[in-house]
């Protein structure tokens, strides 16, 4: 990350606003985005020495406009003369006016345009809205900087080619376009959350970044209950993070987590958000997921979990999304309410919809473990371990199979592997 923390927060807050102004003037998203990146780097170099300007937003707009102008001059492209004139003569007073919320949102809608693949949308959002450098984004996704630079450049070319007008989506396309935005934010969070066990301290905290961006969207669209739902889901999931891995970075399942380690502040905020959102009507999938997460974190002890309520919510979510992974979760909830046999029956219907999927094996193993069929549980834990693509999950599943095999009581193993120094 660049610069002093204060400057960095300010720069990243201003980045999408400045970009919005430039795109509006030049109609060249690609060049404008590059120009803003250069201006941000320049600010990070000069502000710590020369002091933060009185009007940082105006400074950034001026500097990036100049960079954009330089770029256009060097391009010597005749077809760009028109936009050149527009950049040269900014409407009076605009650069010092109040920040436009709409511009930030409009840029975000562009970055998550449905014509882009999810991976491109994520990369572009992190750079244009998040104000991260290409190197930071590349390191977060564990690819070389050149690879990420190419991906971002292609995304911008695609936006250019698709001729998306710079403006808010129309009423008719609003829901679908907002869904693309929320999906991109969700994937950024997911990526960061997944890598929380990683030991690379230099990796950008993608989950914190996703929360920051979703907070921003929530501030701009406070009445949208799905935005609130997504933010709540992120906060409630993030709240469990301290209990999610042990001192060695090994995964700990929800029912074995030390719940006193959960972040109470995040939980309070997330619960308040989701409670507020569901009273507004128009229940969506993020709200349902957040409501389920809220039921989990409300239980101070695992045996206090309100499984009937969770089962009902998964039922709603299943009907809404048709996602087989949701059906998988519903089977677990059904097992907790009606017994593992019921859960296993529900899983039977999923073999075709989730063929050879390790999660199906993992859930089946859990349920066989609940029934007391150790042999079947071991078999399915092993099958799941051989099919997962995740290193920490593979370790978790292998260990789970091994400890069943060894005929140990789950709690004994938890005590001996977790050790006294988890906190």
């Amino acid at each position: 990350m660049r610069g002093a923390p204060h400057n960095e927060d300010l720069l990243r807050e201003l980045a999408p606003q400045v970009l919005g102004v430039l795109v509006r003037r030049s109609s060249d998203f690609d060049a404008a985005e590059d120009a803003v990146q250069e201006a941000l780097l320049s600010a990070a170099r000069h502000w710590p020495e020369e002091g933060t300007p009185d009007n940082p937003r105006g400074w950034l707009i001026q500097t990036s406009s100049r960079k954009l102008l330089d770029h256009m001059r060097s391009e010597k492209a005749r077809r760009r003369r028109e936009s050149l004139a527009a950049v040269r003569e900014p409407p009076a007073g605009e650069s010092t006016g109040p920040p436009s919320r709409d511009d930030t949102l409009t840029v975000l809608f562009m970055c998550c345009h449905p014509s882009l693949t999810a991976a491109s949308a994520i990369a572009l959002t992190l750079r244009a809205i998040g104000g991260l450098t290409t190197a930071e984004i590349a390191s977060a996704f564990l690819v070389p900087e050149a690879t990420m630079a190419q991906r971002i450049s292609r995304a911008k070319q695609r936006i250019k080619a698709s001729d998306v007008p710079f403006g808010m989506p129309t009423r008719a396309e609003w829901t679908q376009r907002l869904r693309s935005v929320l999906h991109a934010l969700y994937l950024i969070f997911n990526e960061g959350y997944a890598s929380s066990a990683g030991d690379d301290l230099h990796r950008v905290e993608l989950s914190s970044e996703a929360i920051r961006l979703t907070r921003m969207v929530h501030r701009m669209l406070p009445d949208d209950s799905e935005v609130a739902g997504l933010l709540a889901l992120m906060l409630l999931t993030d709240a469990r993070r301290p209990a999610r891995t042990d001192a060695d970075g090994e995964l700990i399942a929800l029912d074995e987590q030390d719940r006193t380690l959960w972040d109470r502040q995040l939980i309070a905020e997330g619960v308040a958000l989701i409670d507020g959102a569901v009273t507004k009507g128009a229940v969506g999938e993020y709200q349902l997921q957040a409501a389920i997460a809220a039921l989990h974190v409300r239980a101070a002890r695992v045996e206090h979990t309100d499984w009937p309520q969770i089962l009902a919510l998964y039922g709603l979510l299943e009907r809404m999304t048709g996602n087989p992974v949701v059906s998988l979760n519903r089977a677990i909830a059904a097992a907790m309410v009606h017994g593992p046999a019921e859960g296993l029956t529900l899983l039977g219907a999923l073999d075709e919809r989730l063929p050879r999927h390790y999660r199906l094996d993992a859930v089946r193993a859990h349920l066989f473990e609940m029934v007391g069929d150790v042999e079947a549980a071991v078999k399915h834990y092993r099958a799941a371990a051989s099919r997962t693509t995740s290193v920490p999950e593979q370790r978790y599943l292998t260990k789970r199979a091994a400890r069943l095999r060894a005929g140990l009581d789950a709690k004994d193993v938890k005590n001996s592997t977790q050790g006294p120094s988890t906190d």
Binding site: F141, T147, Q150, I292, L328, I332, V363, T389, V391
Partner: protein, 138 residues
Amino acid sequence: MTKYLLTVDYNGGVIETPMTEWAPEEIKAHMDYYGALNQELTDSGELVEQQALTGPELAKVVSSDGGTAPVVTDGPFAEFKEMLAGYQLVDVESEDRAIEIAAKVSRVPGPGGMPLQQPIGVRLVMDDSDFELLTPEL
């Protein structure tokens, strides 16, 4: 995005003739094809890394019991044809795309422009993802 390792062995596919016996323009066409493919993957932001490996002449096998000095030998290796000759690490949207790229590698031209049809290994790289978000109950 998911990372896949595409591997190619010293297996000439349908062509038995070693490259040293190809016509110079055939070798050039072969190299140009690889060059163009790697450029395409670079431009698309999918290529993470690619390497060619030296052959058995320069390869070693090391084993160690942790106590005595490691044992270093010049073999034995799997059959020459089954030995790794090179790889590409790609980061792609789907397995379909990984397979599509592997197919392009496989049909690299040989003598007379004939596609070599080399067998390409497609291996999914593990990551550090975590199922809690999608399946919190586990």
